[in-house]
Symmetry: C2
DNA sequence: CTGCAATTACTAACAGTGTTAGCAAATGTA
DNA sequence: TACATTTGCTAACACTGTTAGTAATTGCAG
């Protein structure tokens, strides 16, 4: 009896149409003006239907956070695969991170800016775990072939990530204060400093 | 005729009572649950009175952003005055920045997280300018007495700030992922890397 | 093919938000 | 005392997220 399966398929269609509508709304007018009612209007259903697929508005945002981390992890994975030298890998991943942030500004803002994802939910984001793995493995390799081996890879990973996030978000908010290609210079500066310290 | 002056004084009292009420509300329940109506209730006035003192809710938040940058600049100024060695000054200011962020979490989140202050308004925040000056002057001194003098102090300032902000915000959102005094270690790690690169 | 059960989608409402138009009262000035 | 100005209010508008209750559709068993 494929009836229930067809029903499930139809239900899934509505679900994806919800997140599609939400995405286009966000890309057009930002998170601020994303409302349940406007999603309902876009998918040509009434409001309560949305609550059959998502517990509340936050659940929709969480969905985007998840896929956001997934996209980020994919980008980094791709960047890392371009080289097998750990230092170059780190450099490439830093660039990939930067590009992801500015090519998917809305995603990035949701992932890091507004929501401040619940501390507990952090470990339940698969993309985030992969993200960490990608960076940590490269960092470990650099440390392994360095004179000073008493460095904590996990600490270094957090430092690396913090530096990246700081660069991105400061540049996102105070765009005018930096002019021209200053942004890329700052990125290069910070990342090369970090890698240099890591190799010592 | 001191009448108009007394009136002005009374008006100012209402104004400060508005921001005081707003602050306590925020400290108790966060920015999320700050509403015009709750402020009105707290100051025992009706809602439209608030609009006689602030153009809209955003203006109230801007007020907090302003004083936030002022407080931050004061903290850094104080920290810097403890030493006249530029490297120690940078270290002290980094620590002051860190402490400010976590001792005034709500301010910090408003200043950097949620609002993403309008790009144009950036240059109209006096505290922000002072903040920049404090860091740049120390950075310039370090560069001046270093072998390699072809470093852009402005670029280094942005890097320094970005690193700091990244450290703070990553730690604010993913508090559980780091355990114990890891946080301070990460701070020390990143800042010492930066200063080391600056001295070369 | 009809009657019943379950799903589906709806209208309408509740409680809250920022914001403002219009009016009444209090206040200072002539 | 009469007028003008300021001051503060009530009430409304247009939104927001969320949900209770209801009507219609649908699938299945007799």
């Amino acid at each position: 009896m494929g009836i229930t399966e067809r029903r499930q398929r139809q239900k899934d269609e509505v679900r994806t149409s919800i997140i599609n509508a939400a995405r286009t709304l966000v890309l057009e007018e930002g998170w601020q003006s994303l409302s349940i009612r406007r999603i309902a209007e876009a998918i040509e259903y009434s409001v309560p239907v949305i609550y059959d697929h998502f517990e509340n508005k936050d659940a929709i945002l969480t969905e985007f956070t998840m896929t956001g981390y997934d996209m980020l992890a994919k980008s980094l994975k791709q960047a890392k695969s371009q080289s097998d030298q750990p230092c170059q890998q780190l450099d490439a991943m830093a660039n990939a991170y930067w590009n992801f942030a500015f090519e998917n500004k809305e995603y990035y803002q949701l992932m890091f800016g507004l929501g401040m994802p619940n501390c507990e939910s952090a470990r339940s984001i698969p993309g985030l775990a992969e993200f960490g793995e990608l960076l940590i493995t490269s960092i470990k390799e650099v440390i392994a072939s360095s004179p000073n081996q008493d460095k904590d890879p996990f600490l270094k990973y957090h430092t690396f990530w913090s530096v990246l996030h700081g660069l991105v978000s400061i540049n996102m908010m105070h765009k005018t204060t930096t002019h021209g290609n200053m942004n890329e210079l700052i990125l290069k500066d910070a990342i090369s400093s970090f890698i240099k310290a890591l190799k010592e």
